[in-house]
């Protein structure tokens, strides 16, 4: 079992008729992902066609879910409408909403997150690369690719990856695959200050997943999500964990691309987070080139086989 999604998961693409959503819907179809429906208000009844696939488009998420049995939606709609798009997934009772959109106002996300309390829907993102459960085919074809990650760099296997950053996730996955170490699921939780699923939420899922033998956790300066996850790992997780924190050289008070990557106080610097990682038994990757090797060191120390 992977976490969150499997190769049979049926997905909805909100914003499938836009450039960005359409391009990535095609790449997911090429990867073998079950893209069951698209949603664009006003275009219900039309079809999204690509390489022999004919994906029906609906006016609402509820209609799409009811007609196709899809349980997960990926959101590519522009920032002013993205909060509403997330709430539509909640209203339709989906299991998972994955918000790729970058630039959603914080106030919108504060309201959305409050409105999601007590609902069954989990949110990944926003401002995230999405989530991939690799398949067994060539270049991991046949897996479930939700979002914008390059599918081909993955390989089915036993390592879980969780990260706030897109390209840094690809870097870690690429290192693993190059060393012939596969992944169960790779999860991007997004670079915004208010997001749905946290590092800790994903770590708990990986810990409970028997197929996952080791975990790479990638974080950034700002906030205390990585610290919270690290403390839980020390108390509860027996699997080998490697960690990396980006932003050691970032000056305080400056936003480093991601809205959430900003040093506010002494507790959310890279140095402070790395110190907590070490204290909690997490093997720290010294440079971003060292992420897969760090996990190999952690696995060796615990006598765990990753491949």
């Amino acid at each position: 079992m992977a976490i969150l999604i499997t190769p049979t998961t049926k997905i909805i693409v909100q914003g499938i008729t836009g450039d960005f959503g359409g391009r990535h819907a095609k790449l997911s179809l090429d990867y073998g992902t079950q893209v069951a429906a698209g949603v664009t208000p006003g275009k219900g009844g039309q079809f999204f066609e690509h390489a022999g696939h004919k994906v029906p488009i609906f006016n609402s998420v509820a209609d799409a879910a009811k007609a196709t049995g899809a349980t997960v939606s990926v959101i590519f709609v522009p920032p002013p409408f993205a909060g509403d798009a997330i709430l539509e997934c909640v209203d339709a009772g989906l299991d998972l909403a994955v918000a790729i959109t970058e630039g959603i106002p914080v106030r919108d996300m504060v309201r959305v997150k409050r409105a999601m309390q007590g609902s069954k829907t989990r949110l990944l993102g926003p401002n995230c690369p999405g989530v991939v459960t690799p398949g067994t085919g060539k270049d991991s074809h046949g897996g479930c690719r939700i979002g914008i990650a390059p599918g081909y760099i993955h390989k089915k296997g036993h390592v879980g990856v969780v990260s706030r950053s897109g390209t840094l996730t690809y870097e870690a996955v690429f290192q693993l695959t190059s060393k012939n170490i596969g992944q169960t699921t790779c999860v991007g939780i997004g670079g915004d200050p208010v997001n749905g699923t946290s590092h800790l939420d994903v770590i708990k899922l990986f810990n409970a997943d028997p197929e996952t033998h080791g975990i790479i956790m990638i974080g950034e300066i700002g906030g205390n999500a990585e610290v919270e996850a690290a403390r839980w790992i020390r108390a509860n997780c027996t699997k080998p964990v490697a960690g990396f924190i980006a932003g050691a050289t970032a000056p305080a008070g400056r936003r480093m691309g991601h809205a959430g990557a900003i040093v506010g106080g002494a507790e959310d610097t890279a140095a402070a987070k790395i110190a907590v990682f070490k204290e909690c038994g997490i093997e720290v990757a010294i440079t971003p080139s060292d992420m897969a090797d760090a996990l190999l060191r952690a696995a060796k120390a615990k006598g765990v086989t990753l491949s």
Partner: protein, 393 residues
């Protein structure tokens, strides 16, 4: 996005947050008119720059203090002349300082006691938090560290808004009663309304003061807004002061590049914020110093790469460039072609190390090799970082 104190005070007035009466001037002639609008008596003269630490700052002409108390308006007129048009260096401006282009005059209030009040986002709970303290006028980080019992926090439920009992609770803990309590309650409620309705990222009032007559006033104001929400606040966008921003950062934003100048000598050009940050880190790890943060985004088009090279080369400290691209979806060959064209167009003479990885990388590397340019190829991030550090050493 940050704004000046006088702009923040104008917003305070709009939302019913009490502050001392103030006026601004941008020319020496303007001083007379501005001061005429204030009553005779003690007056504050305040340099308007975005950076903090103004009171303890020093002008490059040697004059000390960017915020001054004056006993009379005549004295204020004289002091304002020492500040306007001069460059103020504070702990937050860096050695270059900032040129003072606006002077803000306010009535100097009688202070009974100073407090601290701020509203910002609490990331852990994803809710707005009001932070207040009886220790006003101090460095709040130091208060939080040394005397946490003097710092009070109230989390606001976004579904309900700020509740009356929460306001009463804060006021009680601040030790306010009578007219002070009533005035403070009004100020806190109105400040929260402003925070919510303007999509503020942070509102900080330090100090908030009580006066001998029972007034509660915001003496200073530091306000910033969520950049993602500016599309729905044209009135706030209009307050942007480009003089306060790095011209290279303004240029970068025109091309959807996220650029931040730093003080090292190795420039970097990277796709993705996390990868860009860690590229800076790895340069430092191998003994170099990064000259900037630069995220060209997920796509990295040719036009963006050219603009990025031009911005990087506008920094005279730059002695070498490291390009680090993980072409996940984008074809590495398209990116390589963009790099070659950009290097030729800007006539690059500095050492350049390129690390390309991802989709169609072999063709991309071949394009770089066939370009005839004197660039060095790096295989991994570590390899590329070591190479550029060695080349600029």
């Amino acid at each position: 996005m940050n704004i000046h104190e006088y702009q923040a005070k104008a917003l305070f007035e709009k939302f019913g947050v009490a502050a001392p009466k103030g006026t601004t001037a941008t020319t020496p002639e303007g001083f007379i008119t501005a001061l005429a609008a204030l009553p005779e008596g003690p007056t504050m003269v305040k340099s308007q720059i975005h950076a903090g630490g103004r009171g303890k700052g020093t002008f490059t002409n040697g004059y000390k203090g960017g915020v001054k108390f004056c006993k009379t308006k005549a004295e204020a007129l004289d002091i304002a002349g020492k500040m306007l048009g001069h460059t103020l260096v504070t702990a937050q401006t860096g050695p270059a300082g900032r040129k003072v282009q606006t002077i803000y005059f306010t009535v100097a209030s009688d202070i009974k006691k100073e407090y601290y009040l701020a509203i910002l986002l609490d990331r852990a709970s994803s809710k707005p938090v009001i932070v207040a303290s009886t220790e006003g006028g101090m460095d709040i980080e130091a208060v939080a560290h040394d005397t946490p019992e003097k710092l009070f926090k109230v989390l606001v439920d976004p579904a309900y808004g700020l509740a009356d009992f929460q306001v009463r609770d804060l006021i009680t803990r601040l030790g306010l009663a009578g007219a002070e309590a009533k005035n403070a309650a009004k100020l806190i409620r109105n400040l929260y309304t402003m925070f919510w309705e303007t999509d503020a990222a942070m509102l900080e009032v330090n100090p908030l003061i009580t006066t001998p007559t029972g007034d509660v006033l915001a003496l200073d104001a530091k306000v910033s807004f969520d950049s993602n929400a500016l599309y729905r606040h044209p009135e706030i966008v209009a307050l942007r002061d480009l003089n306060e921003e790095d011209p290279k950062e303004i240029e970068a934003s025109k091309f959807s590049l996220s650029y931040i100048a730093l003080d090292g000598n190795i420039a970097c050009l990277v796709n993705g914020a996390g990868l860009a940050m860690s590229t800076m880190d790895i340069i430092q790890h191998f003994g170099g110093t990064p000259a900037n943060f630069l995220d060209v985004g997920g796509g990295a088009s040719k036009d963006q790469v050219i603009a990025a090279f031009k911005i990087i080369l506008g920094d005279p400290n730059v002695k070498g460039i490291l390009v680090n691209i993980f072409g996940g979806i984008m074809d590495c060959n398209v990116i390589a072609t963009g790099i070659v064209e950009a290097v030729k167009e800007v006539g690059l003479k500095l050492p350049l190390v390129v690390r390309l990885e991802g989709n169609n990388v072999a063709a991309g590397k071949a394009t770089l090799a066939a370009s005839g340019l004197a660039l060095v190829s790096g295989d991994t991030m570590a390899d590329a970082a070591q190479k550029i550090v060695k080349l600029v050493a």
